[in-house]
């Protein structure tokens, strides 16, 4: 195999990985603030994919552009979900949170299955097969657009957390929940906003993914696992870490599927996960707990 093929695969992997990173970022925000692991994360990604698929079918809306409206709707859904269903579980043991969210995941996958059937869905864009040629290396146009959209969303979020009062308040609540309550922050509202932001990330990422791959409801559990792997490698709670983790896992899986075989690619990310846990349990960008 030639050098340019490896370069191609690597670049495609990195670009796809940035979109995965955005999805994982949502998981990271929810865990970092609310301290609940969203075991239905991949399921929400698939819901977003269906939303993008429907928007494309109805209005010919490009899935990458659809990421904006889908993210907004997902924010509202996440806000309400946290307020009604998840909030009572915030103080409950992890395994009970797990059952709640696994129950939710089962409901989502099977509702989609009932509504849309098990067939793989696919969106055909005018530029689906276009590519840029850089120094003899071909790069898919759609992946470049997707990765760029993911970066824009991520940058917006970073700015939100860094510069807005609400963003600062959320960081305060994530850092010290008791302290945040003492200084009079409405922690429940901040939690709901955080859950909303987490779902907005997965909504945007899911829409973009619809432009990149075929989709079935059965994809959901593997996306959940992918998001977990990425945030642990990058460091749970770290935003830059999630993005970098996505990039790393995307590149590693892409290379593994050409070098070894496509069926083995998830094992490579699990191997990376084990390696990171052994060498740096808090993740590449995570802060060590003191």
């Amino acid at each position: 195999m030639s050098f340019s093929l490896y370069a191609e695969v690597l670049i495609q992997g990195v670009l796809t990985g940035l979109v995965y990173g955005l999805m994982a970022l949502g998981l990271s925000v929810i865990f970092g603030v609310v301290r609940v692991v969203n075991f239905a994360h991949g399921e929400f990604a698939v819901v977003a994919m269906y939303a993008a698929f429907l928007l494309f079918g109805l209005f010919k809306l490009d899935p990458i552009a659809a990421s904006l409206p889908v993210a907004l709707v997902f924010f509202v859904v996440g806000y309400l979900l946290q307020r009604t269903v998840v909030q009572p579980f915030v103080t409950r043991p992890q395994h009970e949170q797990f059952i709640l969210l696994v129950g939710l995941a089962i409901v989502i996958v099977n509702a989609l299955l009932l509504a849309f059937g098990p067939e793989a869905k696919h969106v055909e864009l005018s530029y689906s097969f276009d590519s840029y040629s850089v120094a003899g290396v071909l790069i898919d146009k759609v992946r470049v657009f997707g990765a760029a959209a993911a970066l824009v969303v991520t940058a917006t979020l970073l700015a939100f957390f860094r510069y807005t009062p609400t963003g600062t308040a959320i960081r305060a609540a994530a850092d010290n929940i008791v302290g945040a309550a003492v200084v009079g922050l409405d922690v429940k509202r901040l939690y709901a906003i955080s859950f909303g932001i987490g779902l907005a990330c997965v909504g945007a990422a899911g829409s973009i993914m619809m432009a990149l791959t075929d989709m079935t409801p059965m994809l959901a559990p593997s996306l959940t696992l992918l998001a977990f792997t990425i945030v642990i490698v990058g460091g749970l709670g770290s935003m830059v870490g999630a993005l970098f983790g996505g990039l790393l896992i995307g590149a590693a899986e892409a290379l593994a599927s050409v070098i070894v075989s496509p069926s083995i690619k998830s094992m490579v990310s699990f191997a990376l996960l084990v390696l990171v846990l052994a060498l740096r349990p808090q993740g590449l960008f995570g802060k060590a707990e003191t």
């Binding site: 043991p93 992890q94 709640l100 996958v109 509702a111 299955l113 642990i232 084990v274 349990p281």
Partner: protein, 333 residues
């Protein structure tokens, strides 16, 4: 076991005895279909006890128990089919394999202080890696599955676990009873008290001189070994193994549902949960079929909603609530 019996009020002893008699007599009273559901309940109760020792007693959340189930199943099945070694010998290899992997996982997590969510996610990663590995292992059939031969001339060979429904039913009953007894003995033992101390507060336990890592290893090894034995049972009962089924995440979820719904850390919780959830799943198929809602996914959808409802309504599981209501609580020693 004696401590368990002594701690039960008179009413509970009667209830336990009646349940035991009903389960022993069941094969002669009910039809094949009901018997197969009872068997599933018993298997679920058995696996639930195994998981409960790790999570309920020692506080380590494993979301990948399908790993030990699958390893045990494949080990015994491979020995039987490829080398003609029967399951009564194979079960020891199955246990050894399950324990070896559990020790590797334990070493990695305890050595590097991987706890809480991280431990749970690591168990998922191990189980998923095993699934992918076995999917690509051509020697044992890979993704196409691995099958145990079912020959008429073998039937009745109990030494090779080749029996009918009655045989497997009583075997499952024996396993579930043994698991309950073992849990009761462990719970009352010195080790059991150390587990509870570690579960509640590892640092305080360490300060009191409990060897936290060693105690956790003990729970992990016992739990993995029991689950691997369950895998051997499953292999010879179903006669077919698919990595996508036996190592699947949904299998791990099935294992932990019964003890969580029944009551984590209790002795009877896994049993109550198993005898509630298994018939619930089966009953849903019947009910939804009767009202014409048997589209694929409808059953699982309702099941998911029920799970969310039950976990929201009974925070510490059904058994503690049920026991209080019926006056079956254990006396505190």
């Amino acid at each position: 076991m004696n401590e368990l019996l002594a701690s039960l009020p008179f009413r509970a002893k009667i209830a336990l005895a009646l349940a035991a008699i009903a389960l022993i007599a069941a094969p002669f009273l009910v039809d094949r279909y009901v018997l197969s559901i009872l068997l599933l309940c018993l298997v679920s109760a058995y696996l639930g006890q195994a998981w409960n020792i790790l999570m309920g007693f020692c506080g380590l959340l494993s979301l990948g128990h399908a790993l030990y189930l699958g390893l045990g199943a494949y080990a015994a099945a491979a020995l039987y089919v490829q080398f003609g070694i029967g399951p009564w010998a194979g079960v020891f290899v199955a246990i050894a394999l399950g324990v070896a992997v559990a020790v590797a996982l334990g070493w990695l997590s305890f050595r590097f202080r991987i706890e809480g969510v991280y431990f749970a996610l690591l168990t998922i990663a191990f189980a998923e890696s095993a699934r992918i590995g076995f999917d690509n292992l051509a020697w044992l059939g890979g993704a196409a599955g691995f099958f145990l031969p079912v020959r008429p001339e073998d039937s009745g060979q109990w030494q090779n676990l080749r029996g009918g429904p009655f045989f497997f039913y009583y075997l499952a009953l024996a396993l579930a009873t043994a698991a309950l007894a073992l849990s009761a003995v462990l719970r009352a033992s010195k080790l059991g008290h150390a587990w509870l101390a570690v579960r509640e507060d590892p640092q305080a336990a360490r300060a009191l001189g409990v060897r936290v890592v060693r105690v956790r290893f003990a729970a992990l090894i016992i739990s993995a070994a029991m689950t691997a034995i369950g895998g051997v049972f499953l292999a010879f009962w179903t006669n077919s193994l698919f990595p996508a089924q036996i190592f699947d995440m949904s299998r791990s979820i099935d294992i932990i549902l019964a003890p969580i719904i029944g009551g984590v850390g209790t002795l009877f919780g896994p049993i109550v949960g198993a005898f509630l959830l298994t018939p619930l799943g089966e009953g849903l198929t019947e009910v939804l079929g009767a009202v014409g809602l048997n589209a694929p996914g409808a059953k699982a959808l309702v099941y998911g909603l029920l799970l969310m409802g039950i976990i929201a309504g009974t925070p510490s599981g059904l058994w503690p609530w049920l026991a209080r209501r019926l006056g079956l609580e254990q006396k505190q020693p």
